[in-house]
Subunit: 580 residues, 2 copies
Amino acid sequence: MVYHPPLADIRFVLKHLIGPQQRASVPAFADLDEDTVDAILQEAARFAVEVLAPLQRVGDQQGCRLDEQGRVRTPEGWTEAFAQFRAAGWTAARAPQELGGQALPQLLATMITEFWQGANMAFSLLQPLTDGALEALAEGGATDLLDKYGPGLTQGEWAATMALTEPAAGSDLGRVATKAVPAGDGRYRLSGNKIYITYGDHDLAAGILHLVLARVPDAPAGSRGLSLFAVPSHLDVGQRNAVTCTGLEHKLGLHGSPTCSLQFGAEEGALAYLVGTLHQGLPIMFVMMNAARLSVGMQAVGVIERGYQTALGWARERRQGHHPVTGESAVLIEHPDVKRLLLRIRSQTLALRLLGYWLAFQQDRVASAADVPAQGLVDLLTPVFKAYASEAANRLAGDVIQIFGGLGFVEETGVAQLYRDLRISTIYEGTTGIQAQDLVLRKLLRDQGTVFQIWVDQVAADLELCRHPQVTVAMPLISSALQQLDRGVRTLLQTSAENPIRLHGGSVALLEAMGVLASAWQLVRAVTAMDSTAPATDPQADLPDLLNAYCAQFLPDVGAHLQRLQRADWGQAARLAVEQ
Amino acid sequence: MVYHPPLADIRFVLKHLIGPQQRASVPAFADLDEDTVDAILQEAARFAVEVLAPLQRVGDQQGCRLDEQGRVRTPEGWTEAFAQFRAAGWTAARAPQELGGQALPQLLATMITEFWQGANMAFSLLQPLTDGALEALAEGGATDLLDKYGPGLTQGEWAATMALTEPAAGSDLGRVATKAVPAGDGRYRLSGNKIYITYGDHDLAAGILHLVLARVPDAPAGSRGLSLFAVPSHLDVGQRNAVTCTGLEHKLGLHGSPTCSLQFGAEEGALAYLVGTLHQGLPIMFVMMNAARLSVGMQAVGVIERGYQTALGWARERRQGHHPVTGESAVLIEHPDVKRLLLRIRSQTLALRLLGYWLAFQQDRVASAADVPAQGLVDLLTPVFKAYASEAANRLAGDVIQIFGGLGFVEETGVAQLYRDLRISTIYEGTTGIQAQDLVLRKLLRDQGTVFQIWVDQVAADLELCRHPQVTVAMPLISSALQQLDRGVRTLLQTSAENPIRLHGGSVALLEAMGVLASAWQLVRAVTAMDSTAPATDPQADLPDLLNAYCAQFLPDVGAHLQRLQRADWGQAARLAVEQ
């Protein structure tokens, strides 16, 4: 199964959509001329293709195992690959310069993240945890910990985890029961059991810094009583802290990535450092989770890009049936229904990629200067991107299998693995339902749609700018869908008090409708930005067709989702008897 | 993971929808009084729960293997279970009485099929092959073969396969290259390689009768040159025919069901019997495949029913978060978004179950007396049922996982297995694309929508009859969606010549739209048939809520699918460049 990082799409973006001039306005790009940017991308692409992609399959087949010492062993070749990843400086890509990192702009990092994930999703779940830990330590003002662990995390000698979930505390973190009691020396003794800890133990890095949500004695109940602690796997060279991997999950996908049950402090508690102030654990953790949402969305994009390339290759080569018009023997891609599936995958993958880049670049802008409107748009669209990209990628992975027919159901092609691996993306870092709740309650209701209105106006303005002759039929349909969405949100806000069930039960439908439109908007911006002098053989020549295909296949869902939103309270009184 | 066959739904159907009087009009039910019907269903339900369901998990975990003799070994306990299945007479359920079978009506057999599939899909793929082989032999007028193998197939001493696919011949059977040359004694010598043969070898029955598509010398090219042959695994007691299992597929799901590569006649060809006349293989095979389509649809229904029950149990027990209105600690089902997912699954599963029963009973009617309109409706709705039920069940299996959150991604819950097992259902026995092509070309275009119009009129008439006060808002929406569909089909037929791409590229969208409406129609019929005197605790009291939930969640897709149909040619000119 081949994988090519999407360099042509990226070059188009860096030339026409987020061009040199725009980038120059952002300090993060100050030291990065065009050649450097291109060199970084090419080198990352090479690493993804040559080092990471070949280990994706073995990761799935071998999975991880607990050795006799109770330590997790990753699949064959993974420690060597991580050593190369570290040596090439990729663990330092996002880290701040004062820790020895390269502090790459979010836009570049996001592009590269897609390469890692497309090449080997299970392997590449580790790095975002480390990046997130560095952010969380900075957010918590934990300068001592940053001094002590920051350089190691940056160089990949240390890795990190996010230890939130417990058997009784999944989406509801208020139920976290892990305890931390003062050890008398400023540190804490932490004890409890965490589950579903990605890379909770492994042999890639020498040390692991666990960021753990726990409760000190007499802390308030619920999520307001949670504090964040850093628990290193080793206290001094060779001396292990009381953190044990008590089990590995047997999962639908991502076999190469160890999902651990961790026991903290079997006897007297693991030594832990408070990060930030007491009872402020959740806000810090949310910083990490927020960053993770963009990363999960790009994961979904990267994995489905690989599926698309695989399906396209097969559809061009596999001869079956006859062309419906000419009657001649045909390859799959010549069948309109197969072409339709390929167009669905390609147009949506591209649209989501552009949306991810757009979000990343807004983050770069916001990071350098307080830009309230840009921050608002990032906050509004981040849950939409995370949930819609992951939901869409799961559906498209089904389309990839469908293109392969019976062969798609056979593990040897590799597309079944993509289908399995992707399934977690709508769940972790906040399920689709949780993202939708965030969108509706915190991003729409709280400001009564003010930021949403700014976004709608920006989309409408961008639609006005698009005058490409090939998309004149589609454009009014997008405008009309945008107006429908706008009306739907207004109605929802006006009736939210009288119909809270609709607000909650309809939130996913609303999120999906916004996802469809945000994606269409990105394709429109790309068509507008096309270079009219580019030759017809340039990949960008496909853009108007892709926008049209997107409008044919996905835009109709906006109306359907808005109807679902409106009727979200229907049937909710059903008893749902199962006893037969 | 618990599984209860849906006896309450079935009792409602047998009392109110396809009641004793209606059944009495069909000869197949002549000897079956209500008590007998109930006893058969109860006994089948008991067998499914006690014998088949406990083996579903071990089948997935162990899978099948090739032993040292190159024979397939099924998972632990499966041969014993099949011996019980045979001893209890279930292999004979559908077989004709003259072969020692029970000739159960299609309606009853369809209900029971769902139990088998819900309990253990991988195990239960075998019986439909045997039933189909008996039908094919009868269709081909192969009385000698029926005399010789019919009783064994009926008693489960023999099993059967459908050996169609070859490496170059998937959906396109015209490419079949397997050869059969006359052996001089009226038999043939058959040689070639077949792949993806479900239960191509196993240790459940003593003998296997392979029904094989092959070509005699000088046969016409393409599908018109295919003949059907019966190839027994054993010629006389102990003497094996030249059929070898050369490999087992490693599949995404259905690990317990062996998917074999078969080599026929490594040296001088396997001895084979012609079924029917030369070059008439495909029409006979289509009889088998037609029957299989109803069965695949019910498979999807059975498996998703099990997923629903599992998810419902979890949603009632798992405490997370707070109720959006009362603010009190809540179990999952109290969250409107989770309730929405459960309502989606339950309402669509029930609707598809009713549609399957409706189709089955029409088959019973048609089998006893030539009923041209009924036959037309069966032909029209069979591809819709197969494709829509399987597509819907795959989507709903995703919803089941979503309800479990992180736990759903872990294999231990069993819901991940359902997700994996179900994935094949949109592919085998004709992919969704193939079903849609059948619908559009053979069922709509050929008679210019005549039968379709009969169906629309019947649905419209049934909608008129439904006056339940709880569904007065939903009913006009269904009528309006039906009119939209009707207009969409008329337009398609009028423009089919000038826009064949739309016809082909839009066929799946049209099929999905019909599936949504056919399902809604069935729920409407159920609401109309409700017993107004039944107590509120009766499961049927949920029906109006389920119809409303269905209309909220799925009916909006009709309009969206019709827009997709209308725009199906958009973007088809895209080059889809992948080189980066």
